[in-house]
Every structure is written in structure tokens, then in C-alpha cells.
């Protein structure tokens, strides 16, 4: 049995997202081998009923987005598809930056975002993680549920992803020079 078959079987058995790290522990192989296995599995699953979703850390299996309406009918629980303007802004920041701190989100939106971040966390569209580069702060990241609602396997599949990243990098550069602590303070008054 080869590695991609094993990965597929474990993901199927688990029925939840699983980290690459955990997979390499379970299968007792290097992270390079896992990456290779994931790539092969992705190729196998092209044009199948099942798709492989991924973010930086985890992977998961789901149904192909093409069958969305079929499963919506079969699904018992009602889906909440409404997003307010504030939610859309906040989600687009978190998605296209692939994770953002509250200070960053507040700065971009020019308002305090603590309530909207809580509401989106409760809906399971974003999740809070400790920032790897600074463990005193949190990073809000897109969840698999969010990617699922958007029908994408990863953030790279978002509309105009590459083009937008370039655009955002230019805009960030312009701001970087003038970004003052003062602005962060002004917009993040409530804790």
C-alpha cells in the first residue's frame, strides 16, 4: 500500500481535518514524503466525487462542489448564507492575507472589529490561533468550513488570488512607511 492510499484512508476514517504533522507521525514518514503523497492524492482525486482541501497546516476530504445542490437538499440542518458588509470585509482580509491579527484587521477597516470577529468565530468561518512569530498575539485564519462555503479547495483558488496578492503587497508597502502606532491605538479602544 502506498502513501497516498494510506493518507486517503486515514482522512476518510477520521472524517475531520488532519494536520500534515499528525499524518507524518501516524505513518512514520518524513514531511517530504507526506507532501509528495498529498500531491499524488490531489492528482488522483481530479474528476472524482471527493476533493482534497488544504491550508498551511491541515488537509481534509470533502464532496465535490459541483454536487452542492444535491447535498443541500439531502442536508438536514439549515445553512446560513447571509453575510453582512462588515463580515464580508473582515473575511476578505483574513482570506486574502491568509490569516491576520486583530490589530491588522482594525487598521484596514478603520473600526474596532472585536464583535465581528467573535460572530464569525461562533459561525465557524474563522478560527483564532497563536501567532507563530509572536506568541503574545493571535492570528485569525480561515477555517475549512469557510473554504467549503466558497467551494474552494484552498485559498489559492479564490478569485483573482495571485493578482490580488500583488495588489495588496503594493498597497501594504505604501502604508508600511507611514504606519504609525498612533493609528492602531485610535481604532482599537475596546478590548
Amino acid at each position: 500500500m502506498n502513501i497516498e492510499q494510506k493518507i486517503e484512508a486515514i482522512l476518510f476514517w477520521k472524517g475531520e481535518p488532519l494536520s500534515r504533522k499528525k499524518l507524518s507521525e501516524i505513518l512514520d514518514v518524513s514531511s517530504e514524503d507526506i507532501e509528495e503523497g498529498i500531491d499524488k492524492l490531489k492528482a488522483i482525486l481530479i474528476d472524482r466525487g471527493i476533493v482534497l482541501q488544504e491550508n498551511d497546516k491541515e488537509i481534509a476530504l470533502g464532496t465535490t462542489p459541483e454536487l452542492s445542490s444535491l447535498f443541500e437538499k439531502l442536508q438536514k440542518e439549515e445553512l446560513n448564507k447571509d453575510l453582512s458588509k462588515a463580515s464580508l470585509e473582515t473575511l476578505s482580509i483574513i482570506l486574502y492575507k491568509n490569516g491576520a491579527s486583530r490589530a491588522e484587521i482594525d487598521y484596514i477597516r478603520g473600526v474596532n472589529s472585536s464583535f465581528i470577529l467573535r460572530a464569525l468565530s461562533v459561525r465557524g468561518l474563522i478560527q483564532r490561533e497563536t501567532d507563530m512569530s509572536d506568541n503574545r498575539r493571535y492570528i485569525y485564519k480561515p477555517t475549512f468550513d469557510l473554504l467549503s462555503y466558497l467551494g474552494v479547495k484552498s485559498v489559492e483558488e479564490l478569485p483573482n488570488y495571485k493578482k490580488t496578492l500583488q495588489l495588496l503587497m503594493d498597497a501594504d508597502r505604501n502604508l508600511e512607511e507611514e504606519k504609525k502606532d498612533k493609528d492602531l491605538e485610535d481604532t482599537s479602544i475596546i478590548e
Binding site: G62, E178, I190
Partner: protein
């Protein structure tokens, strides 16, 4: 006036708070303009007027609008009085606002893309599997005491409605009030200096009032009631009554 916004159009509700960037961007986009000093100068009055519709009970809201408003006033003044000297900080503020608004615009547009895609073709995760022959496997951490402490903690961390930011509201003079005061004082004296009009500007509140009165002055200039004289770059601005008052 040509650029009056419909008072009902930007009604702000605390639950769906439209921030200053959102309001400013709608004003610019409504005029089908790009974001730059020129377009921002054009929408300054509409933006200031909008502040009067912001829920005054929420101090955070008003102050976040005021910060943006003060920069807009600078942009406006510069466009009306090209000789007006601006400090390095003020120039920076102007640049910063323009750039931040451009960045905000990018994300608002991305938000539109997200809206179009969200919920249209969904990837479904497998259903929760039926539990067959469940074995009871407790954990020694589960005790009456630990359960009580944990639920206390969880309930304690919930945001409390009554603790929403409702700090005492600072009085901010409305633009209409200010125009009225200004007109009254100008009727009395033909010439009045801007500094004289505002007294010494020290506190933040006084600064906001100065901003509002300055804007009111510009308003009157536009309506042809006043004419503004600034003899030298660093001198005081002299407001003078025109004949059609």
C-alpha cells in the same frame, strides 16, 4: 446645494456599524471618482454632515469619525487655500488616509467577490457517523468542582452588553450650530481673525470645535457670504464679510 446626501441613506445602526472608511468610500464612489486628494476634498462636507447622523451615545463611533474628519478638513483647506502651510505630520496624515482608503477599497471589492461565491457551490464534509457500541470513557479531570470552575470561566469571558463602550459623551458642536454662531459674529464685525474666533486651541475638544468652525467658515465662503484672506503663508486667516450678507 448640489452634494447633499439623503439623510436616510446612511442610517447607522450600532449592530451593523458603518465605519468612517465605509462611509467615505461610498461618498467617493457615489460621485464615480477615484480616491485622491481632489475627490476627498469634494466629499468633505458630506462626510462631516454624516457625523451628525452617527449615534452620539457611542463615543468610539464619533471619535473614529472625528479623526478621519480632521484629516479631510486639512485636505479641503489645502484645496481651497493652496498657500496654507501644512506641517510634516499633517502631510503624513493626508497620505496615510488616502492610502488606507485605497487599501480598504481593495478589500471591499474582494468582499463583493466573496459575496458572489459564498454558498453557491459548497463542499460538504462527511456527516457525523452514528456511534456504534459506545464505551464510557471518562477522564479524571471531570469533577463537580472542575465543571463549576470551567463554566464560570466560560460565562465570565462572554462580552457583556452593558459594558459596550458607552463612556460619557463629549459634547461636539453640530455644524449647523457653528454656522449660526459664525454668521452672528461676522454680522457684528466686518473682519475677524480665525484665531480670534476660536480662542486658544488646547484640548482635543477645542480642536474638534476649531475644525468644525473652520469647516463652517469654508461653507460660508462657498455660499459667497464670506471671503477669506490669508495675507502670508504663516499668517492668520482673515475672514471678511462680503456685501451680499
Amino acid at each position: 446645494m448640489e452634494s447633499v446626501i439623503n439623510e436616510n441613506k446612511y442610517k447607522v445602526r450600532t449592530s451593523s456599524f458603518e465605519g468612517p472608511f465605509s462611509v467615505l468610500l461610498s461618498l467617493v464612489e457615489e460621485k464615480k471618482l477615484h480616491i485622491n486628494d481632489l475627490s476627498l476634498a469634494q466629499v468633505t462636507e458630506d462626510f462631516i454632515r454624516h457625523i451628525s447622523t452617527v449615534d452620539k451615545a457611542d463615543n468610539t463611533e464619533v471619535s473614529s469619525f472625528m479623526i478621519v474628519a480632521s484629516t479631510l478638513i486639512l485636505i479641503k483647506s489645502k484645496s481651497l487655500l493652496p498657500n496654507l502651510p501644512l506641517s510634516e505630520d499633517e502631510e503624513k496624515d493626508i497620505n496615510n488616509l488616502t492610502n488606507r482608503l485605497k487599501l480598504y477599497e481593495i478589500y471591499t471589492n474582494l468582499g463583493e467577490d466573496i459575496r458572489k461565491k459564498f454558498g453557491k457551490s459548497i463542499i460538504f464534509s462527511p456527516l457525523e457517523k452514528r456511534q456504534e457500541s459506545v464505551v464510557f470513557l471518562p477522564d479524571s479531570q471531570i469533577t463537580k468542582e472542575s465543571m463549576m470552575i470551567l463554566i464560570d470561566g466560560a460565562l465570565g469571558r462572554m462580552p457583556k452588553k452593558e459594558f459596550l463602550p458607552k463612556i460619557e459623551v463629549k459634547k461636539v458642536i453640530s455644524i449647523e450650530e457653528m454656522i449660526y454662531n459664525l454668521t452672528e459674529r461676522i454680522k457684528k464685525s466686518v473682519t475677524i481673525s480665525f484665531k480670534e474666533l476660536n480662542g486658544k486651541i488646547v484640548t482635543k475638544e477645542e480642536k474638534i470645535n476649531a475644525i468644525v468652525s473652520f469647516l463652517a467658515m469654508l461653507e460660508l465662503v462657498r455660499e459667497g457670504i464670506l471671503s477669506v484672506l490669508q495675507e502670508n503663508n504663516f499668517q492668520d486667516i482673515i475672514i471678511q464679510k462680503t456685501n451680499n450678507l
